[in-house]
């Protein structure tokens, strides 16, 4: 799978390369520039700053990526999660390398992680009591955005895993430094 570089970036993709390497996902999607052009603003909105706290979003993204066993997203979002203030042990627990219950005692966060497990960890409806618990801690717009975030992460998880996208050397170095490789 060729990851396009700035020299080979199609016209619609050029703006995404202006600030340097846009990462493996954008470099792969650049092969279909009209898809990149439509998708990137959506992804930036979903994964970038929004009404939800960065920590909350990273809980969803990293937990979902662990459930779908996406190496690329687990590695990238271990770093993002650390940058959002999560402790190393919290990151390890979200990745399944430690018990979740020990690290996450906040009721809202526990309800959220149960919801993510229901959305990304199984098929079919999420049990109603898990939904009710979530709704008791989060407003309706938050639930919508968190669920869409889990779904979007799942889409990217399968995209990155199926295509075997490589984690950048810089990210690998950072993970090694943090003992998260």
């Amino acid at each position: 799978m060729e990851l396009l570089d700035a020299r080979r970036a199609p016209l619609l993709a050029r703006p995404f390369f202006e600030g340097g390497d846009p990462g493996a996902i954008a470099s792969a999607m650049a092969h279909v520039p009209e898809v990149l052009d439509a998708t990137m603003p959506f992804l930036v909105q979903m994964f970038g700053p929004s009404a939800l706290p960065a920590r909350t979003k990273e809980l969803v993204i990293l937990r979902t990526s662990a459930l779908l066993d996406c190496r690329y997203c687990i590695q990238s979002h271990s770093i993002a999660a650390r940058d959002a203030g999560l402790a190393r042990e919290e990151v390890l627990a979200l990745r399944g390398d430690g018990p979740l219950g020990d690290q996450f005692t906040d009721r809202a966060e526990r309800a959220l992680l149960d919801w993510v497990d229901g959305v990304a960890g199984s098929t079919g409806p999420v049990p109603p009591e898990i939904g009710e618990a979530l709704m008791s801690h989060f407003a309706e717009p938050d639930v919508i955005e968190l669920t869409l975030l889990a779904g979007t992460t799942m889409m990217l998880n399968r995209f990155c895993t199926a295509l075997g996208l490589p984690t950048s050397q810089a990210a690998l170095a950072r993970l090694a430094e943090d003992g998260l490789l």
Binding site: A9, P10, L11, V32, P33, E34
Partner: protein, 275 residues
């Protein structure tokens, strides 16, 4: 009136839509932008698709068509398809001019009187210099084809692709084409672009977006900014001038192209006169 028709009418977008009929060729020219040769991937558009593009181009308000390759006349259905396309829009077909056998020339009678121009490559009035670039016997075959097509009443244009051309050489070429019945306005001289095989041959001038008129170009692999966009280097299709992978319906790439043109900085008009 569509937004595209308006843009064409206002001169914001050129009126011509190009189609890459195929990528394979019976020749292997030293400066070939598409690294064409007999055995390369054909990347054929197909007669049906060519007709669809022509119909959609006309409906959108484009005013003419161009067919290029590879060598389009390697395709058995080409003449018939061109005749049908010309019923929709005027068309210029680029060819190396070496495949006009007796049977092909008979078929070409169907082009007489139609809004079709056959643009044949001839790089020098000197057979040796020409054949060094384009292969043995090229000059003799091309001159015979031009003569035969003109005799059948087909409009012929001659395209000279050259790194440098001095006045004396140009004059010799012009005498040659006039003698063959090709008028001055049907002789085009264009530079070699440093893309495709020209890179490896150390030929041509560097280009970027702003050098090329934004002529919507449809290939089997996607839509491009210019017929000089879907070039091949090292066996790999270039993507730097790719507009979209989606080519149908044609308004999709046409509208993206228009958006790109409108986003181009003011004054960034095409600098090289290459057609």
């Amino acid at each position: 009136m569509s937004e595209i028709a308006e843009a064409v009418g206002d001169g914001v977008l050129p009126g011509r839509v190009w189609l890459y009929a195929n990528y394979h060729c019976n020749l292997t020219c030293t400066y070939c932008l598409t690294e064409s040769a007999p055995k390369v991937a054909k990347r054929e558009l197909g007669a049906q698709r060519m007709l669809e593009v022509a119909a959609q181009a006309r409906a959108l308000g484009f005013t003419s068509l161009g067919v290029t390759g590879g060598e389009p006349f390697l395709l058995s259905y080409l003449t018939e398809t061109i005749i049908e396309m010309a019923e929709m829009l005027p068309i210029v077909v680029l060819t190396n001019g070496t495949l006009f056998t007796r049977a092909r020339l008979e078929e070409a009678r169907g082009l007489t009187g139609a809004p079709v121009a056959i643009q044949i490559s001839l790089d020098s009035a000197d057979p040796v210099a020409n054949d060094t670039m384009r292969g043995p016997e090229n000059f003799r075959r091309v001159v015979a084809a031009i003569d035969a097509l003109v005799a059948r009443g087909v409009r012929v244009r001659i395209a000279t692709t050259a790194e440098h051309i001095d006045e004396h050489e140009l004059e010799r070429l012009c005498q040659l084409h006039r003698g063959l019945g090709v008028a001055d306005e049907d002789h085009i001289v264009r530079p070699i672009l440093r893309r495709g095989r020209a890179i490896d041959s150390g030929l041509g001038v560097d280009t970027d977006l702003i050098d090329l008129p934004p002529e919507l170009t449809i290939t089997a692999d996607g839509a491009y900014w210019s017929p000089f966009g879907p070039t091949v280097h090292g066996g790999r299709l270039d993507t730097d001038l790719l507009v979209s992978r989606t080519t149908s319906p044609l308004d999709k790439p046409a509208n993206i192209l228009l958006r790109l043109v409108q986003g181009r900085a003011r004054g960034d008009d095409a600098k090289l006169d290459i057609r």
